[in-house]
Amino acid sequence: MWSGTPLFPESASTMASRVDALYFFLLALSIFFSLLIAGLIVFYAVKYRRRAADSVGSEIHGGLVLELTWTIVPLLITMVIFVWGASVFFAMSRPPDETINVYVVGKQWMWKFQHLDGQREINELHVPVGRPVKLIMTSEDVIHDVFVPAFRIKADVVPGRYTHLWFQSTKPGRYRLFCAEYCGTKHSGMIGQVVVMDPSEYQTWLSGGASEGSLASAGAKLFQDLACNTCHRPDAQGRGPVLEGLFGKTVTLQNGETLTVDEAYVRESILQPAAKIASGFQPIMPTFQGLVTEEQLLELIEYVKSLHELPQVQPR
């Protein structure tokens, strides 16, 4: 019965060993202090057990040196743990510059993955080994959470915003992906798999799917169908801002604030166009709330990302 019972999780990402190192340090520390306290208690309880009905303890009321010692020493130890934990967290929060991006949409009770090349998967995510992968995640309904124990990573998937998670797998295999935020009836069935493949196998897998073309090309078609192109024109003659080269740029808003154009801003500008109007434009864009699905939003975002700045047109 015990043979099939693991006591420690598999490690399959670059982050796993860093998290485990901190875990083992804390484990050793905890065992030390638990044994120290338990040992002292048992030792005292036996050594100083009451021998006469009317006996009382010694008149000891405290000691400043001891108090300071067991205040300052734990304080120093916890600060070391804090810095260590923070540095691991920084590494988790900062993906490398070059990543394979995959969009994730959670809904009750399944995971949908969209690759930039157009492959769509449900409850399975294929990635190549050794390459950093970034997940850009949102939810169609309630809060979910992507948790891959073998990678030691986890992040909530929140409706109405994009959250991020990145990992770099270290060995091919199939790893469980749990929903870790309670999301209703079938929460415990919202389980997927990350399939980590050798690069060559991954290439084969990539060329197998995606009959509909890339995510950005789907977005381009949608951009036409929704008639976005009547106002957002590349020649700056439209009523809306030029989108070419916009992603990642800093824009100034009407109220003078500035922000960097990211997935969240593009999303908000489609669903709540009046929320943050770019300086020099009128709040005339209609909302597309309810007209586009979360997946279509991702296609549009990917299309906007794909629009590179046009070469300067000579003035007529």
């Binding site: 920084f90 809060i143 870790a180 999301c183 929460h187 069935g189």
Partner: protein, 538 residues
């Protein structure tokens, strides 16, 4: 020892019949009303836990449906947190002891005290109504937008029950604060007070300051559910994470509402059964206040993976480490108190030792969760479940039971069966560890919490946990039986069966309605074990 007789007049024979209880203004009788209430809801909450552990004995969800399972863990949490853990020690032991320990006749507002109990019962009635008319499936945390948009269960009546009960908490806290400020007997200075009162005072501050935030949050949930306001629903422009900030702003301090009073009890037990002053009295006292204050500043550590900014996470991480320090100071001081004590192994001391051990593990595993990079892996798994049960069950319930056993002779005037009591304390300790220790391992392996079904390789550890839970259940039933039995057949206790100091042991057992024949004048420090005391061998 002189023959022990019951005092001719005491609070239990001062009036008979149901009305003499339901309309009483005596803090001691109100404490017993609360005892009946919290015990009832403890066993209801416990019954849900039994069903949860039965279901989890096998990997597939075969005992109940998904929906029922979700309701079971939700109602287990709601019952245990709001109707047992939060009121248990303050409302039962605090109510009984605060006036007696400071030499007063009653709390400052006796009628308000009775009103608190009725409010608690009305709140409990709402939540019970929610349970019997379909139940609640949001988790005790009510996360939005699930609770406001998605769940079809009885959210409103259950939340209303918690809203109402909150006022009982606020009024009890207010009553304690005013009583401790205004009604101390002559000579009972702040630094002569038993440490139980310091921790009760600190707890009361949290109750008064924190609970209103919970009330507001619940009203916002109700408004969004009923009138479709967009506070938390992103499709209406709301922010679901805002709810988590509001909820944990109360619910993290609520953890200290549960555990601070237990720490106070442990200080009393360690002093009484070592017959020795608590080591570093003022450090232990100020640690309680420190925990109450810092406890308000760490709520964000529940949200490290919820999408808050990296820097916010770091601030909450470092503050969470800081709040661990006063808890560690208390553990070291209790341990040091045992040095050169006269240590008896009576049942309350066994609970105190159990508390220190389990709370130490609970506290140390808290460091794992405060380290933000490690929390990412273990949050929302069974590691969390194990951690907070070590604090709430290993801490609060051990403290509560230890206190109940220590003051039972004072409350009832009689002694329980010591052998049975020691055995059941041992059973609880073993059952508890078998139930919850495997869950740490399960959590690091990656088993998420709130899962009805789980992968088969997690089964062995889950079976151990379920086996432990059945042992723990037996351990909780035995004290019920022998304590009830002692009410009628127990040997008479006399005023001071433990040979302890403290004003409560200077009056009769049970005490008269007005607590003391004449108001005591205090001329000694707390835990004044300067001279040999009349008492017994362990």
């Amino acid at each position: 020892m002189a023959t022990v007789i019951l005092p001719p007049r005491h609070y239990l024979n001062d009036g008979y019949g149901i009305a003499s209880w339901l309309f009483t203004r005596d803090h001691k009788r109100i404490a017993l009303l609360y005892l009946a209430g919290v015990t009832f809801f403890f066993f209801i909450g416990g019954a849900f836990a039994v069903l949860i552990r039965l279901e989890l004995a096998t990997p597939v969800g075969d005992l109940v449906t998904d929906e029922t399972y979700n309701k079971l863990f939700t109602m287990h949490g709601v019952m245990m947190v709001f109707f047992f853990l939060i009121p248990a020690i303050p409302s039962v032991l605090g109510n009984f002891l605060v006036p007696i320990m400071i030499g007063a006749k009653d709390l400052a507002f006796p009628k308000l005290n009775l009103a608190s109990w009725y409010i608690y019962m009305v709140g409990a009635a709402f939540t019970t109504y929610a349970i019997v008319t379909g139940g609640l499936d949001t988790g005790w945390t009510f996360y939005t937008p699930f609770s406001t948009v998605s769940s079809t269960s009885q959210v409103i009546p259950a939340a209303l029950g918690i809203f109402v009960t909150g006022f009982s908490s606020i009024l009890t806290g207010l009553n304690f604060i005013v009583t401790i400020h205004r009604m101390r007997a002559p000579g009972m200075t702040w630094f002569r007070m038993p440490l139980f009162l310091w921790s009760t005072y600190a707890t009361s501050l949290i109750m008064v300051l924190g609970t209103p935030v919970l009330a507001i949050t619940i009203l916002l949930i109700a408004a969004e559910r009923v009138f479709h306001f967009g506070f938390f629903d992103p499709t209406r422009g709301g922010d679901p994470v805002l709810f988590q900030h509001l909820f944990w702003f109360y619910s993290h301090p609520a953890v200290y509402i549960m555990v601070l009073p237990a720490m106070g009890v442990i200080s009393e037990l360690v002093a009484a059964f070592c017959r020795k002053a608590v080591f570093g009295y003022s450090f232990v006292a100020f640690a309680s206040v420190g925990i109450a204050v810092l406890g308000f500043l760490v709520w964000g550590h529940h949200m490290f993976v919820a999408g808050q900014s990296v820097y916010a996470a770091l601030v909450f991480s470092i503050l969470s480490f800081l709040v661990a320090i006063p808890s560690a100071v208390k553990v070291f001081n209790w341990t040091a108190t045992m040095y050169k004590g006269s240590i008896s192994w009576d049942t309350p001391m066994l609970y105190a030792i159990g508390f220190i051990g389990l709370f130490t593990i609970g506290g140390l595993t808290g460091l794992f969760l405060a380290s933000v990079g490690l929390d990412v892996h273990v949050t929302d798994t069974y590691f969390i479940v194990a951690h907070f049960h070590y604090i709430m069950v290993g801490g609060t319930i051990m403290g509560y039971l230890g206190g109940l056993h220590y003051w039972w002779p004072k409350i009832s005037g009689r002694l329980y069966n010591e052998t049975l009591a020691r055995i059941s304390a041992g059973i609880i300790f073993i059952g508890f560890n078998l139930t919850f220790f495997p869950q740490f391992i399960l959590g690091y392996l990656g088993m998420p919490r709130r899962y009805h079904a789980y992968p088969p390789d997690f089964q062995v550890l889950n079976v151990l946990s379920s086996a432990g839970a059945s042992i723990l259940g037996v351990g909780y039933l035995i004290p019920m039986i022998y304590l009830m039995w002692s009410l009628r057949y127990g040997r008479l206790a006399g005023s001071n069966p433990w040979g302890a100091v403290g004003l409560e042991w200077t009056t009769t057992s049970p005490p008269p309605t007005e607590n003391f024949a004449e108001t005591p004048v205090v001329t000694w420090e707390a835990y004044d074990y300067g001279a040999p005391v009349e008492g017994h061998v362990a």
